[in-house]
Symmetry: C2
Subunit: 335 residues, 2 copies
Amino acid sequence: MPTIHDVAREAGVAPITVSRVINNKNYVAEETRKRVNAAIQRLGYLPNSLARSLRSHKTHILALVLADITNPFWTTVARGVEDAASENGFNVILVNTDESEIEQKRHLQAVLEKQVDGLLLAPTGDPFQAIDMIRAQGVPLVILDRRPPGPLAVDVVRCDSEGGAYAMTQYLFSLGHRAIAMMCGPCGVSTSDDRVSGFQRAYQAAGWTPGPIQYGEFTVESGYAMANKALEATPRPTALFAGNNFIAMGTLKALRDAGLRVPEDVSVVGFDDLPQALVVEPFLTVVSQPAYLMGHKGNEVLIARLSGLAPETPEEIILPTQIIQRRSTAAILPQ
Amino acid sequence: MPTIHDVAREAGVAPITVSRVINNKNYVAEETRKRVNAAIQRLGYLPNSLARSLRSHKTHILALVLADITNPFWTTVARGVEDAASENGFNVILVNTDESEIEQKRHLQAVLEKQVDGLLLAPTGDPFQAIDMIRAQGVPLVILDRRPPGPLAVDVVRCDSEGGAYAMTQYLFSLGHRAIAMMCGPCGVSTSDDRVSGFQRAYQAAGWTPGPIQYGEFTVESGYAMANKALEATPRPTALFAGNNFIAMGTLKALRDAGLRVPEDVSVVGFDDLPQALVVEPFLTVVSQPAYLMGHKGNEVLIARLSGLAPETPEEIILPTQIIQRRSTAAILPQ
DNA sequence: CTGTTAGCGCCTTCAC
DNA sequence: GTGAAGGCGCTAACAG
């Protein structure tokens, strides 16, 4: 593997001149530039970005730390992040925490050691420790999707979970539903908590007692289990509210296995849409979140900070959600 | 950001001793080790992996270059690769080519500059140039999913596309189908070519003329267009064979829009299954490929090479496919 | 417009 | 068991 010195010798110039050609910095005579480029071609030279970054203190790498890349919601967020990165000459390292605080810490350490220029984090559990560790290294940070507790000390880009859940619950009310079972992700994760809050606020506004609430995991298995539990209640809920797309999948499977029809016997609503490439005929009524936009916008905020273009005080950007009405919900007669 | 020197000063030792503690190399007195670790804690020191790698000529990073990470097939492959990496202390950089040779070259260069220890490549287009570039840098390489043309000069781990397509075509024959339209990905990509070959071989074995063959893209849109074209034929094909999961999705959408029922009016089969988390009730009859295993095994082969444990001559590992029979296929009466 | 010098933070090599 | 010297490949800072 040739180095910059080999190229310099081959072209009859000093190494720094090669460096300037590679980086398009300072003026280099047209003829010199040609000689250098020819030498680069001849030797098949590729700059060593390790050495380059060590010297320049810039890696042009950002890290995206999220819960679960097998979830299409996160795949879409990742796409948004990567596109914004590409547009600005950055690469993205992607790591999965699987909602484990230990994994999160391990991965965070690993990417910090790699000297990433910035970090996008969808935090698992209590984010204070994580944020502190990142701060201590002086690495710019944007929190994605989830709301850190306490006063705002960091940029946040997320969706309006509370408002979305509120609106969806009201929509179910408008169809005549009143016994709605809420099945959410882990308690303590802000997206879970906010969706539950929105659900409860809608009931409060109506002056009713909220339906049963369960906390679980953002997985198909957990959704399956929670739905089965919810269906045991007497009288049976007339609608099930799934806290994310995987919980909705588990819920639909549980209903199928229980021999119940959707929406004739039970209405089902969820959070997060599925990409149109993955479904032939969209069926589920959902609170849709702008996943791609969140990723893209989040990274724009981060890159603005890196470039010193960002405002002094941290921003919190809350993107609106939207109800997409499909065939998994039906009106019921008032009792 | 503290360096190894700061830690050394804090602990009252030489930098090299800190290095030995971090790397668990050579013997370090228990008491010294404790002092050093305490200093590391106090300063919140994280080793700079750039400097480390520059010196040690090892990054512990592998690159996975594939066509399209939004496809669940590739997501699953990536999971297999990442798990095998984790198990062996490696990280994975993941890059998308979107089936573009230009993007492939650009990305390949970028990851080579990052000094990755090894490469897993699902090549797009003619892989010779790519393989040469990688070889020139002396970076170990495993080809994934696709069969490079010509004699075997590199490790390959892939699935038996030809055999899978052959078996599926025979299965359709056994249901009485004879007018089967094949809709595949790009001509020149070995998985496309092999699936077409298997399809043709089945017809040859039966002594019949193969049904119409179309080459397109591995996308929903392309599947939609190819299916519409296939349906124009007179007489209409009784079965449609989709070359991958996205083409199958497009096909099903086209049939829905054309008002045709599956399988009553037309049978549909595909290649690649969808993860069970993404479908409530699996419907499509498919040739299922062991995507996770391919990724995992592929990376094991690569890591074995890195460790010098691999055999001298390149290996070609061909994993078997499997027909999963579901509700998108029906028997038709012989004419 | 081009070159010299020095050092990024760490680890290899050799010494004791 | 510990340390000193030197260099991995590149570019910042300063000439000229």
